[in-house]
């Protein structure tokens, strides 16, 4: 029961902070709202028993990525006059209506009984398949279980991720520096 109440508190926080990210015109306010959004999301991850993901969410997103964002925003030093005046066009209204409509359509059509049947149908075969790869004595979401899944069963994607990060770093240096 307490979990349900906490989940709804976190959900309201996530949606409110996400809306602030989108609606604030000042990029610094948006970035700080995104930090709040990440903290609420980390709370939902804890409720979903994914403790490692929650800690990494706070350390990597709220720590590293947002510091990078705020650093660049401060470096660019966007003034209010450079941000322009807020425009209320008809297209923003149309976009708002379609976003609310899309969310409502997904909630109404997609989240009814469809996922229940998918999970009930697929879970039996998947669980026996996955159970061979999981360690006994490593509960769901623990560091041991996730590390086992990453380093033993997903080694190739893991190495490709390191390659991707290397390419991103080289690309960022090339683009941002201009002349090498």
């Amino acid at each position: 029961m307490a979990e349900t109440i906490l989940f709804y508190i976190f959900a309201i926080g996530v949606l409110f902070a996400g809306a602030q990210v989108v609606l604030r015109r000042n990029p610094v306010h948006g970035a700080l709202s995104l930090v709040a959004c990440f903290f609420f999301l980390a709370g939902t991850y804890v409720l979903l028993a994914a403790h490692l993901i929650a800690i990494l969410q706070i350390m990597v997103y709220a720590g590293a990525v947002m510091v990078l964002f705020v650093f660049v925003i401060m470096l660019l030093n966007l003034k209010d006059e450079e941000l322009g005046t807020p425009r209320r066009t008809i297209w923003k209204g149309i976009g708002l209506v379609s976003v609310v409509g899309a969310t409502g359509a997904v909630a109404w059509r997609g989240l009814g009984s469809a996922y229940d049947s998918v999970l009930a149908h697929g879970a039996a075969t998947q669980l026996t398949d996955m159970a061979k790869h999981t360690l006994p004595g490593a509960p769901f979401g623990s560091l041991k279980a996730v590390a086992h899944a990453v380093y033993l069963n997903s080694v190739l994607p893991f190495e490709l991720t390191s390659l991707l990060l290397l390419v991103a770093v080289v690309g960022a240096v090339v683009v941002a520096k201009g002349k090498i």
């Binding site: 809306a19 948006g30 993901i53 770093v169």
Partner: protein, 99 residues
């Protein structure tokens, strides 16, 4: 709290990010909206991983984390290049990069 609640939260967050992506003209605002959308997808991975009992969804969540970090690094470098050449970070100015 069940799977449907998580999926509903995730779809709502994704649509909020999509609205920001479509309405912002500032490149930094667009990057922030993409972050929101990526985190909505991440929540889906973790929720499905939890409710199907298989831990592989969390591995996907870790890869999404690395992917967004790379995207932010390259995206902010592009913003820097845009700002250095135009003194502004509006995305429509980026069409000059074609040449």
């Amino acid at each position: 709290m069940n799977l449907q609640a998580c999926l509903l939260l995730s779809s709502g967050l994704f649509c909020v990010g999509l609205y920001g992506l479509l309405t912002r003209r500032n490149a930094i605002g667009i990057l922030l909206s993409i972050e929101v959308m990526a985190n909505a997808a991440n929540l889906n991975f973790v929720a499905f991983s939890r409710y199907s009992g298989a831990g592989y969804g969390q591995v996907f969540a870790l890869f999404v984390l690395a992917l967004t970090v790379a995207e932010v690094a390259v995206g902010l470098a592009l913003v820097m290049a845009l700002f250095r050449s135009h003194r502004d970070a509006l995305v429509e100015l980026a069409s000059a990069f074609r040449h």
